[in-house]
């Protein structure tokens, strides 16, 4: 059986490795992972698998660039397609770094990284919107609760009537509820009145 040959029209360096050869099977998915150190395959790269047709490599399956404090070195450089000046700068980088000017060093940094740590860590004003949203929805909920209290709930039980409440308090005093520091401690039993 002919061993299928995989060829890709991507910018692969001689360093490319981990090309898993697909054994002849009509249902080949694009699961072959291309780990390219430093460069990533162009999103438009197409892989020809033997005689079976093309399989497009999706963007999300390729290494991505992101600025994160906890992983300081992303898998790929930020700028993929270098302009002419950037290419010449990269050539210059291969020589002595002392010969690079400050602007060139910064330009090299910006080729590899999108935002510096200071830029990526800076705060935003988003919290103001969040707090405003919190207040708004709490207020709205308050209105809803007020409406509920008026139109949904029925009457309270008779135990809330003032006469009933008075009898309750009298009974609590008779029972000497919390006589040391609490309820009955505040009642003057001699004069039948609350202590001044």
């Amino acid at each position: 059986m002919l061993y299928p040959h995989i060829s890709c029209s991507s910018l692969s360096l001689p360093l490319s490795f981990l090309e898993r050869a697909a054994v002849g099977d009509a249902r080949m998915l694009a699961t072959t992972a291309f780990r390219l150190v430093g460069k990533r395959a162009l999103s438009t790269s197409i892989c020809l698998r033997g005689a079976h047709g093309v399989a497009k490599v999706e963007d999300y399956s390729l290494p991505a660039y992101f600025d994160r404090r906890e992983s300081p070195l992303p898998e790929i450089k930020f700028v993929q397609q270098l302009s002419a000046e950037q290419k010449s700068l990269k050539e210059k980088e291969k020589g002595s770094w002392a010969a690079l000017s400050k602007e060139e060093k910064i330009e090299l940094y910006r080729i590899s990284f999108k935002e510096s740590f200071a830029e990526m860590n800076q705060g935003s004003g988003e919290w103001k919107s969040v707090v405003a949203g919190i207040f708004f929805f709490v207020g709205l909920t308050g209105l809803v609760v007020l409406w509920q209290r008026k139109f949904v709930y029925g009457d309270v039980p008779n135990t809330f009537d003032p006469e009933y409440k008075q009898k309750e308090i009298q009974r609590m005093l008779d029972m000497r509820i919390n006589p040391v520091q609490g309820f009955s401690a505040k009642w003057d039993y001699e004069n039948n009145a609350w202590k001044k």
Binding site: R171, D174, M175, R176, P179, V180, Q181, Y189
Partner: protein, 76 residues
């Protein structure tokens, strides 16, 4: 463009040396404040209450108020 090398070791020890005494001091202050503001006054209040407490008198007062089921007021 030569910055000083930042501290690489002993970061936790340095932080603890600073924060632990403060933590201990604050905890002790909190405990002392609670003792003097809450526990001691409460103990004194209870002690004072029970030195002047006549349980028989209180029982009779409660009985006359009619709260007991098994000891009805003397009138009934």
């Amino acid at each position: 463009m030569s910055l000083a090398k930042p501290a690489m070791r002993g970061l936790l020890a340095k932080r603890l040396r600073f924060h632990l005494p403060i933590a201990f001091a604050l905890s002790l202050c909190a405990a002392a404040a609670f003792k003097f503001a809450v526990s001691d006054p409460r103990k004194k209040a209870y002690a004072d209450f029970y030195t002047q407490y006549d349980s028989t008198k209180e029982f009779n007062a409660m009985r006359e108020a009619g709260i007991f089921e098994s000891a009805r007021p003397s009138g009934e």
